[in-house]
């Protein structure tokens, strides 16, 4: 799985989330911020991470999720890191 694969998976998740700015989603990149750039409410972040677990069939540690900020790149890092541990 490449970082682009993960980004594509995140886009699939975000397409189903009503609160996400779907126009802004067309320009998503690793540098995007879920909250500042895509309009995601901060309380939805946890739900996106939970959906990423399902999407990539992984299980994240609570401590790793605590450490995340709202940058897309950090979520990709988490997925890649957890994948490597499998």
């Amino acid at each position: 799985m490449t970082r682009q694969d993960v980004l594509d998976g995140i886009v699939r998740i975000l397409k189903e989330v009503k609160t996400v700015d779907q126009e802004a989603l067309k320009n998503i990149s690793e540098d995007s911020d879920f909250i500042a750039d895509l309009g995601l409410p901060s309380t939805e972040m946890i739900n996106i991470i939970a959906k990423a677990e399902d999407e990539f069939q992984l299980e994240f540690d609570d401590d790793d999720v605590d450490a995340l900020d709202s940058k897309v790149s950090e979520t990709i890092d988490l997925v890649m890191r957890t994948q490597q541990k499998k």
């Binding site: 409410p41 901060s42 309380t43 946890i46 739900n47 991470i49 939970a50 609570d62 605590d66």
Partner: protein
């Protein structure tokens, strides 16, 4: 979790779980707790709570009481998960009331009436809990202990309330989260 452990949580003083100062706590006690199901609390409205407000408890305070119940459920659940005491948990986390979906009010609550918040856990993941609460009021001359102290049900939907319990609010998607202290105090 054993029945004894559940009873232990139910008998914990709200002030030990919540971080609010005593004048801002809108829970007198917990009555029922199931880690996968939810939490029930009550609060008898005091004269100080309705000052300058026509002897009526404000809607926002009904939300706060239910929110504190949801946050308490989150704290207890996280404490159980980490196998730590609440005091130990508080050293590392603030259990915060982060938000709420919709509030639908059906009535109001006067001084000396008792609020009963019945909060069902909808989701709990990564230290964040989502609950939905139904808030009832009980007349001032009725003792809620008579109907809440011996609940044996394991499922919240199986709990039947006496006729004098009147639904006053339905609150959806109350969100509580155990936030690491180092994520709050970043300056």
């Amino acid at each position: 979790m054993t029945e004894l452990e559940k009873k232990g949580w139910v008998n914990t003083a709200p002030g030990e779980i919540l971080v609010h100062g005593p004048s801002k706590i809108y829970i007198d006690r917990y009555w029922w707790f199931e880690p996968e199901e939810g939490l029930i609390s009550s609060y008898k409205v005091q004269p100080k709570d309705v000052a300058d407000h026509f002897d009526v408890f404000r809607g926002v305070d009904i939300i706060e009481s239910a929110g504190q119940t949801g946050v308490s459920a989150c704290a207890i659940r996280e404490s159980v998960k980490q196998e730590k005491s609440i005091d130990e948990l508080k050293k590392h986390f603030r259990i915060a009331f982060l938000g709420m979906g919709e509030a639908r009010f059906h009535g109001f609550v006067r001084v000396h009436e008792t609020l009963v918040s019945i909060c069902s856990i909808n989701r709990y993941k990564f230290r964040q809990m989502h609950v939905s609460c139904k808030v009832y009021k009980v007349p001032a001359d009725k003792d809620v202990a008579a109907s809440l102290s011996e609940l044996k049900q394991n499922k919240i939907v199986d709990i039947k309330l006496p006729a004098e319990y009147e639904l006053v609010a339905e609150l959806s998607d109350i969100i509580g989260r155990a936030v690491p202290i180092n994520k709050i105090y970043t300056n």
